[in-house]
């Protein structure tokens, strides 16, 4: 995987998730950060830090990105959400426009 095809998402605790750029772009917010020229340092480094999103939630979000790509390509499976994560996940999803 070429470096420019991936992005690094960093959780509140500093945990790093390296994922396909294509997957991260499922989030409208991340897409804006990575594509608006000059306005974000993130564009250059391919790194985004989320000081408000915990590792557990960010992991779940990354899972969703990949699930979403699969769904769009016709593989309509169910996306499981643990009940205890729901509210926090929803807040993060709201922030990420996804």
């Amino acid at each position: 995987m070429k470096k420019e095809d991936t992005v690094k998402l960093i959780s509140a605790e500093g945990f790093e998730f390296v994922i396909d750029k294509k997957a991260a772009m499922v989030s409208q917010t991340i897409r804006n950060m990575l594509t608006s020229p000059g306005s974000f340092a993130e564009t250059e480094h391919g790194e985004v830090t989320f000081p408000e999103i915990s590792t557990t939630i960010l992991e779940k979000i990354c899972q969703y990105f990949y699930w979403s790509l699969q769904y769009a390509s016709g593989k309509e499976t169910e996306f499981h959400i643990e009940p205890e994560l729901t509210l926090e996940l929803m807040m993060a999803a709201n922030y990420l426009h996804t």
Partner: protein, 579 residues
């Protein structure tokens, strides 16, 4: 008898019950109740073609919360925009109950759209009130809320929009409770039999009001004087307040910001209309069913901003109609169901901004059509039930912007239809007339943009259906003249955009037709009544997953067959007959 008789499609504006129609009403043409044109109800149908998208993570979370809703005791720690989305979903899915509602106490919600929500009564108002100064809009229409329930709104000083349509338990006293909500800009209480002029006196302090809807309030006469100080008022609906008289119009004469005034089916006469002369911003005036004559045009000619005028079902005659020529700003004019003749059309000749003209059931004939020839902006022309015939149509052949033309129940014949063949903007054409046959349809194959074609009573046979192949964009089609067999339906099976198909009254159609239709998976409404369709044929309709309405009256199957089929294969079917 699923539409065995030809129907009129222009119901009274006063019967606008769009908020009250059951699910079945939404998919039939007769639900079109807007007087501005039929295009609105159709736009709704067209919008339903949208594709299903992948679910967003927010929505997946919302579904999950809904599933486990009883596990949550409060949402007040969530940011408002999140709790609002959860609330809206629970309302939409009818999962909000007394106990679930409690979790939304102090959530600072902005909008409580609880219109028609089952179980909503005064006991819920405490939670409504707990949203405090965040609350911006409340819809409690159709609820059991009473005057005492409205006391709770006093603390919600920032409310901008309040709707208590169809609330039978709210009276003048209730209006007193909300008299201090000076930020209200929208207030609606349709069909309230208890509110009187005294109640309206409590509205005098609502100085921010922009929109006020009092439709079907039969006891408010004399109360409009209390609105005099509401200088921001732009829209006032008094439709079907049959108590309203000329004196009430006098009370409105100073509301110079009014842009929209609806007084359909009131007692207002020409004299009352004179009080409206000073409403220089008035753009919409609906006087359908009022006892006014063309003499009122004298007053209306002072209204330079007037765009929409509805004078259908009034007492118009040819007398004094020359004043129509002064209404130069008009875009939409409805003159349907008046005793006017072709002689008045010369006065419309100069209204070159007209986009919509309704002459339904007037004594209009071919002679008058020449005066419409120059109305080149016309998009919508309604000539149903007039004496217009083939020779009049040649004057319409230059109306290249025409999108909708209704010639049902006219005396137009096959020979005249070729005059329409150049109207390339046409999207909707109604030729529901017995004398129209295959030959007439053959003259229209150029009209490839047609989306709605009504040949209800026309005598179309199998050979005529060959022409239908030209109309690939068709969303709705009605052919109910009795001349079709399964052979003809073969030419319909490739019209894959169809959402509404009515083939009733063709009593030679068999199960074979249903088999041919099975590929029309966009269908939302299907009617094959009065045919030889049997219970065995139903199986072919399994694939029509978008179907909401299915009518098979007077066929060889019974209500039990239908019920069984619906519950096994098409649970989304909301209306089916026989039932």
């Amino acid at each position: 008898m699923g539409g065995a008789c030809s129907r009129k499609r222009d119901p009274l504006a006063n019967e606008d019950t769009s908020n009250r129609v059951g699910p079945s009403g939404r998919y039939t043409k007769s639900s079109s109740s807007k007087w501005l044109g039929t295009s609105f109800s159709r736009a709704y149908m067209d919008a339903m073609q949208g594709k299903r998208n992948r679910p967003s993570l927010i929505n997946l979370c919302i579904y999950k919360i809904r599933e486990d809703i009883n596990k949550y005791s409060t949402f007040s720690m969530l940011p408002r925009d999140i709790s609002q989305q959860i609330f809206d979903d629970l309302v939409y899915s009818h999962c909000l109950t007394d106990s679930v509602l409690e979790a939304f106490r102090d959530c600072a919600l902005q909008d409580l759209n609880l219109g028609e929500y089952p179980g909503f009564d005064d006991s819920w108002m405490d939670i409504v009130s707990s949203q405090g100064s965040s609350l911006l809009s409340v819809d409690l229409s159709g609820s059991e809320v009473t005057d005492s329930g409205l006391i709770y709104l006093k603390e919600c000083k920032n409310i901008q929009s309040l709707n208590f349509n169809y609330c039978d338990l709210i009276s003048d006293k209730g209006l007193e409770q909300i008299s201090g909500l000076s930020n209200l800009n929208t207030l609606s209480f349709k069909r309230n039999n208890a509110i009187t002029a005294q109640g309206l006196s409590f509205l005098s302090g609502l100085i921010s009001l922009i929109k006020l809807d009092l439709e079907r309030c039969p006891k408010i006469q004399g109360g409009l004087v209390h609105l005099k100080g509401l200088e921001k008022l732009e829209s006032l609906n008094l439709n079907c307040c049959n108590c309203i008289t000329d004196a009430d119009m006098k009370a409105l004469s100073g509301l110079t910001n009014l842009k929209s005034l609806q007084i359909a089916s009131s007692k207002v006469t020409d004299n009352g209309v004179t009080f409206l002369r000073g409403l220089s911003k008035l753009a919409l005036l609906n006087m359908e069913g009022c006892p006014v004559t063309a003499a009122c045009l004298e007053s209306l000619s002072a209204l330079d901003a007037l765009l929409y005028l509805n004078l259908s079902r009034c007492n118009l005659t040819d007398d004094k109609c020359e004043k129509f020529s002064k209404l130069l700003s008009l875009k939409v004019l409805n003159l349907g169901f008046n005793e006017i003749s072709s002689a008045i059309l010369v006065h419309l000749k100069g209204l070159t901004k007209l986009e919509s003209l309704n002459l339904d059931s007037c004594k209009i004939n071919d002679e008058g059509m020449v005066h419409l020839a120059g109305l080149s902006c016309l998009k919508y022309l309604e000539l149903s039930d007039t004496e217009v015939g083939s020779s009049g149509l040649r004057h319409l052949s230059g109306l290249l912007n025409l999108e909708s033309l209704n010639l049902s129940f006219t005396i137009v014949t096959d020979g005249g239809l070729k005059k329409l063949s150049g109207l390339s903007s046409l999207k909707s054409l109604n030729l529901d007339a017995r004398q129209i046959t295959d030959a007439g349809l053959a003259a229209l194959t150029n009209l490839t943009g047609l989306m709605h074609l009504d040949l209800f009573g026309a005598r179309i046979t199998d050979s005529g259906t060959n022409c239908l192949r030209s109309f690939k964009k068709l969303l709705s089609l009605e052919i109910c003249g009795g001349g079709l067999t399964d052979e003809g339906v073969k030419n319909i099976k490739d019209l894959t955009s169809l959402t509404l198909l009515n083939l009733s009254q063709n009593n030679h159609l068999t199960d074979k037709s249903l088999e041919l239709i099975s590929g029309l998976t966009q269908l939302v409404s299907l009617n094959v009544s009065n045919s030889r369709v049997t219970n065995n044929g139903l199986q072919h309709l399994k694939s029509l997953k978008n179907l909401k309405s299915l009518t098979l009256e007077s066929c060889k199957l019974n209500a039990d067959d239908m019920k069984k089929f619906q519950s096994t294969h098409l649970p989304n079917l909301v209306s089916f007959r026989p039932e």
